[in-house]
Symmetry: C2
Subunit: 907 residues, 2 copies
């Protein structure tokens, strides 16, 4: 807890120290049908929402007038110790006066009050992360004016009630559940179900009760001065930039702290002024499937927050959605909305996520932005927009976030598996997930850290649940729609989510959920199908994902554009086949040690390790040889005509021996050794720092016969495969080389063995000998090493460990806080540390090519499947990347995007 | 064993691959009073011995004529698969003909036979490492001729007997002890003691018996053709370049394989032709003390090998040596020898090691070379030759091998200690040593590897004993003089040695030594005083070395020349005082964690680690603070006016906790924790690779309060010391920094704490904040890190571990063979890997200076005391090196030598 505090302080200091505290020339940007200062290209200054409001206004759409306070003021706010500059006051007051004039209402005017919304808006969308206040400008006087002007006292008092709830929570720090309890108590005592059943007098009493509670709880009285309300709200929006949840969100998405948020102040329009009012959100195409059909939800007589928060289950916008639709209820507004959405999609050349409100039959546009979408939808939209000639092929490729393909590649539920359906909700985010249920975020985090797979079950989610959602396999909510917090966030994360599953009854206190007669408690297993909305009892078998035609088209298109080759890391013929299906152009890393762990051979390996002299060791190796030969033969068959890089034995020998007393006893007995002998061997092989120990090529310097056996097995397998008619391209890789002399010696050893096998069978086969570059020294003397290497394959995992002096096995304790506190820009094991490790890779490439201009260069660390790392590998001129089979599509797309972007830079 | 074989094969291949197989223009270089082809500057081609023979001949000294086959032929020999080129034959035959003509004898002429010696000689002296054959040219016919011409049949047959013994061993691979047994048996059966007591008939019988044994043992008959003898000997000398012992010797001394050896063929002169003959070796100054007096040993009626091999105990050359001296026995030859030695020393401007033979009263010079000497002698000779204006001050500084100063800095026996003298031998190599006795080299190596200190006790040593001598604390021999193998080699190694201790009776079979009624067996403890020749029973207390006036003069002279500062790594005021006495100009590394291990505080440290929250942790830190303050105050007092670099806590916390079950139980009981709690903590802190784990500045990122406590303790101590009137220069060092952000955060933390202390006492003190550069990444982004660092101190130990991916704790298993097999040029932890790690250091220096031109740059790894590393540190422009106190003098001298050599390069 204490550390968290320090972190926040430092975080602030960093924000401050990087900034100028000079005031920007323009602090406030106006937008209205009359005059608009900004435009859509000004996201840095206006934030995404402000820029879009300006752009929509310019396009002639019906947007309620208002103005945006620049993001630069957010920087000033923090630089001045969370204070706003005096100079801003007059600018804001002038802007308010213009809005008053345009709308014909007065801010704080008891006769005809102007109400405004105050919203955050940063450069990139951070849905639900920062604060919003609606209906600002209401007090005990203006509420009466609103009642009179609108002719709807109930609407006026309900707005006031909402405003007090929202403002006291966001600006004054009031615990919002206290007020909700009061509201629920009142409804209960009156036997009412919905908020909309409350009468005017109920609402008046509630407002007074709320204000009293606020005074008691915060020690401050609720402000009745509308200007005080406004400044409080502006400051609160700026402060919301640095709440823990916003900071977490930025970290996850890699957004820098200095961006800041803008504040959008806009005249209110009301979707809750009666039954001829409505509010809704819509997507210009289906965000889940990508289908080209207008897709949205609305609530009659409601404010926008009701839709987004998912507290009421909304209706579809289009008739095709079934139930009551906007198309049926308000056909004129719907027609206007359809024209607008078509105009917007054409203008922005991307699928739009729009917010609208209908006030007494009149449509108002509140927001448009590029819509979030599932990976499946992203792929389909990109391909179809290209088909429609709305975007170019290059743009289509850039429209899909490579990481997001993970969603398509994850397992789905086996349709044939026997399932017991528990319930059915909304298919909010596709994919299948199975795990133990937990009912709160903390528990989700805790269990996930201890290795459990969990499903987070909530009545609804809120931004406080982000960390729990990150830790879960999937999310189930009992309330809220497809655009509820849970649904939007889960899609962004690529997590399976079933939302609005109303038949499930959740009791947080008892930590149980009840549905169709079942009672499940924390720890019970369920399975979600995010693509159908179904919830199943227990664990259901999952299947590899089915990739559709659009996916295939995108991949083929990517292949046309990329320069980098993409291979897969695979150790078995099965893995190799999956990799080939995903489009791998070869195996970049076959870890031969994985073959040593097979049940039929691990004891032979152990006997080899326990050997007391070379003769005894060779006896075991002679048994291993034929097994390895079969392994390699399988790989060569599966990878027909494609290159296969085989890394010779790498891990320290103690990894093959047991370490607990019990395991040692059992093994000794099974293999007829004395326990003492085995224990001594284990002790003798134990290392202080195995990562830096007797492993890799160092093993073969000490025990050349191990690599000899492997080289022979490879050569024999290659010849067998060739006899079967397969084309074989073998690349033999020596790991952990630090000096040219090591590689020289082992290259000779391998070549001698291969030559011997070739001589025995009077047949040749094509092969290369190269090395894994995974030590800083190897990078520094790569010119020498290249004299002995036909290829380099960068082992960026180990290179990261040594360059940063950071053990991946041990860094877990502090690496998270290093990233979250900005001491490292990202987890260097996930995304290559270009600044440090990247320098070494670049140097090794240059030196290697100096010695051997045609040297083959690849990477086989996990970074090979990371898009930002791929960008770097492309830029330094590697020939290929190699990653796990399921990341191959990601790598193909990322490689294409990099090629396109680098071409753009050149042009 | 098997590995050794592979090694040799590869070694050969390496020798070949680097070589041209073209024949050199000149293959044979002649030397005689008449005409000499070479000169002393041609060591690369003629080897040291050949060059000196040429040079001595040119100087007009009496050198038996002969010729040298160039070292280039050795390369050709190996390049051609151990075969000599045809072209060499005629050249050698022509040269032999010239020698025959000059000497007036015929090679193989039964009437008047020419005999020759065939000796190796490489660029640098490798005493006893390669093969020599004397008396070549004898067979059953020529022996009779020699008997007739010399008038001494006994001499002739004795020469023949020696020749057969030597040739059969060296060229034909005969086990020489077989022939020795035959010899001893014969002496025993005849009741004879000395070889010289054998009669002619005995010798004749011996020769025939020897030849028969050779035939039986090797399957080949002993060659009677003198040309065949000659070619066999030449090839044997070339082959001796690659015997295991020669290879080992080269590795120890860092001589490259490609040098090769020359072959010197020289007409024989005889020291064993009667009582007017003698042979001896001498030094122009005392090689043990450096005293300016002619110092040598000789044996009447003997061949040179008798002196060198130490089989008979020789007499002194000068009368001052006591006993029968050459000065008394052969005054004329002695006078001539004195004139020659003076001429030689003046000519070579260095102390000479000369070999001579007197044949029938006539003096012949066989060899001169710069003499090996103890460090003490080297220092004295350098200073005195400078005083004599024989050499310049710069030359004097270059004359002392910095590493050799170790000898002077090692402990000597406490003169006041109670001692039980066991025996007294020759003071062959100075210093004191104590250890368990072992009687063979293998055991010495084995015990030393398991951590025992051993004394190697041998009747005499031979080159096969080198590895055992390396492993021993000291060497005791029962036969042989000051120039015996044991004595020469021990002095070269800087090891204590007592030689020729005849009263000790060694029984290898029983593994025991008997002396003055004591019987000691393997494992018993003895103590040697190599400066007096005494041997003591058990362990004797040792004292720090007494450094004489010459040493002080040399050090002061070094200080005049060096540019690099020299500091010491010291953690206590005691260490700091020793360091100051040795001339340290500051503390370059105070490891604060060493202070945490004190008996009075380790439990407080443990309580700090066991703390469950920050408050509890701070409670322990509050107790540690005042202790640390006292530690630092002591250091500041001791280092008055000199800079003190304090490294904040570095090791992972688990290093402070117990790890065995018993220790955990005890500690838990003592401190009142449950065993389980302690065990859980130990488990939680355990790391897979602690070297790359949660340590260094990473600890302070997690627990800032630890560095806060240390910063406060430093600041308070500095102010206290200042109040006492001391001048304080503090350098606070943050370890294991990988990113600028880490250092920025911790620098701020330290500065805030120091400022707080300064504010509390209204007093300032001078301090710097810097970092240890010990990770590859830190080197690569040193420009960024320098923004936060007043100084860099290179932690080359850890930088070596990470750059090479080599754990110092684990590398022991294979690092030795890596060095011996040429996979690494030297142990990278002893001598900086300039090629790899050096590149990173250089880069960091350049980047650091780019950001901050005045940045202070030092090194605090153990390399700071290694001369070849110091050369590198000088060349990249570091400000200072820091090493352990006892290495400070070495560093001072090495720094001066580097400065002188680099100045030479510039001029």
């Amino acid at each position: 807890m204490e550390i968290g505090k320090v972190r926040m302080e430092n975080k602030d200091m960093e924000t401050i120290s990087g900034l100028s505290i000079d005031l920007p020339k323009t602090m406030v940007y106006f937008f209205s049908a009359e005059k608009t200062d900004g435009h859509g290209g000004m996201k840095e200054v206006l934030g995404g929402k402000g820029a879009n409001l300006a752009e929509m206004t310019s396009l002639g759409l019906p947007v309620p007038p208002g103005f945006t306070i620049s993001t630069e003021l957010c920087q000033v706010f923090y630089a001045r110790g969370e204070a706003l500059p005096e100079e801003l006051k007059s600018e804001v007051e002038q802007a308010m006066a213009r809005v008053e004039k345009l709308i014909g209402k007065g801010f704080g005017d008891p006769a005809n009050p102007l109400l405004v919304s105050v919203r955050s808006g940063s450069r990139a969308s951070m849905p639900g992360m920062m604060d919003t206040i609606l209906n600002l400008g209401l007090n005990d006087q203006t509420v009466e004016g609103l009642a009179q002007v609108s002719g709807q006292p109930r609407f006026a008092w309900d707005s006031y009630r909402r405003f007090v709830q929202m403002y006291s929570n966001v600006v004054m720090g009031m615990n919002h559940s206290l007020l909700e309890v009061t509201l629920e108590d009142l409804k209960h005592s009156k036997g009412l179900k919905e908020d909309s059943d409350l009468a005017v007098e109920d609402l008046k009493a509630l407002v007074q009760a709320f204000k009293k509670q606020v005074q008691e709880s915060t020690g401050k009285s609720f402000p009745s001065d509308v200007k005080e309300q406004l400044w409080g709200a502006i400051a609160a929006v700026f402060r919301s930039w640095n709440t823990a949840r916003a900071v977490t969100y930025r970290e996850i998405h890699g957004y820098p702290d200095h961006w800041g948020t803008a504040v959008n102040i806009q005249s209110m329009v009301f979707g809750n002024m009666g039954e001829d009012c409505a509010t809704g959100v819509a997507f210009t195409r289906n965000p889940s499937t990508g289908e080209r059909s207008f897709y949205g939800e609305f609530l009659p007589n409601a404010q926008g927050e009701d839709v987004v928060a998912g507290l009421r289950t909304p209706y579809p916008v289009s008739r095709a959605g079934g139930e009551k639709s906007l198309e049926e209820l308000m056909p004129k507004a719907y027609q206007e909305l359809v024209e607008i959405y078509q105009k917007l999609e054409k203008h922005y050349r991307d699928m739009q996520d729009i917010e609208f409100t209908i006030e007494k039959g009149k449509l108002w546009m509140l927001q448009t932005r590029n819509g979030k979408r599932t990976a499946k939808a992203a792929v389909r939209i990109a391909m179809e927009m290209m088909d429609e000639s709305l975007i170019t092929a290059e743009e289509a490729l850039l429209r899909v976030e490579p990481h997001s393909l993970d969603q398509l590649l994850h397992p789905r539920l086996d349709p044939k598996a026997e399932k017991t359906q528990l319930a059915k909700g909304l298919p909010a985010s596709p994919g299948g997930a199975t795990g133990k249920i937990v009912f709160d975020s903390d528990r989700a985090v805790e269990w996930a850290q201890s290795g459990e797979k969990v499903i987070l079950v909530r009545i609804e989610t809120s931004p406080e649940d982000i960390s729990g959602m990150v830790s879960s396999q999937g999310i189930l909510t009992t309330r809220g729609g497809m655009t509820s917090h849970a649904a939007v966030v889960a899609r962004g994360m690529g997590k399976c989510c079933v939302a609005g599953c109303g038949e499930v009854d959740v009791d947080y206190g008892k930590k149980e959920m009840r549905v169709r007669g079942y009672v499940l408690t924390e720890g019970d297993q369920i399975t979600l199908d995010g693509s159908t909305g179904e919830v199943f009892l227990g664990e259901v078998k999952t299947l590899p994902p089915e990739l559709d035609e659009n996916f295939g088209r995108l991949m083929n298109l990517a292949d046309e554009y990329r320069r980098l080759g993409v291979r897969a890391n695979a150790d078995t013929p099965q893995d190799a086949s999956v990799a080939r299906e995903f489009g791998a152009e070869g195996i970049g890393l076959c870890r031969t040690e994985h073959m040593f762990f097979g049940a039929d051979r691990i004891d032979v390996v152990r006997a080899m390790i326990m050997a007391e002299d070379r003769a005894e060791r060779e006896e075991s190796l002679e048994k291993l040889g034929p097994m390895q030969r079969q392994d390699f033969l399988g790989l060569f068959r599966a990878m027909e005509s494609l290159p296969v890089t085989i890394r010779l034995l790498d891990p320290p020998l103690h990894e093959f021996l047991p370490h607990t007393d019990q395991d040692i006893s059992e093994l000794a007995e099974r293999l007829g050794w004395t326990e003492e002998k085995l224990r001594n061997k284990v002790r003798a092989l134990t290392e202080m720092n195995p990562m830096l120990g007797h492993r890799g090529c160092r093993l073969a310097i000490t025990y050349p016969e191990i690599y000899q056996m492997q080289a022979r097995a490879i050569a024999e397998a290659a010849l067998l495969a060739q006899k079967e008619g397969h084309k074989v391209l073998v690349e033999i890789m020596i790991p952990l080389v630090a000096t040219e002399a090591e590689l020289r010696r082992l290259r000779t050893l391998v070549e001698q063995e291969v030559k011997a096998v070739q001589a025995e069978s009077s047949m040749d086969f094509a092969y290369l000998v190269g090395t894994m570059i995974e030590l800083p020294r190897a990078c520094l003397v790569a010119d020498q090493i290249a004299q002995q290497a036909d290829f380099f394959s960068f082992g960026t995992n180990d290179l990261t460990q040594t360059t940063l002096g950071l053990s991946r096995d041990d860094a877990g304790k502090f690496l998270g806080s290093y990233v979250s506190e900005g001491l490292l820009p990202a987890d260097p094991f996930a995304s290559l540390d270009v600044e440090g490790v990247g320098q070494l890779v670049k140097k090794a490439v240059e030196l290697g090519q100096k010695t051997r201009p045609d040297i083959k260069l690849g990477v086989c660390g996990e970074h090979g499947g990371d898009p930002s790392s791929i960008e770097f590998f492309h830029s330094v001129g590697l020939s290929y990347v190699s990653c796990s089979p399921f990341r191959v599509p990601i790598a193909r797309l990322a490689a294409a995007q990099t090629a396109i972007q680098q071409r753009k830079v050149k042009h």
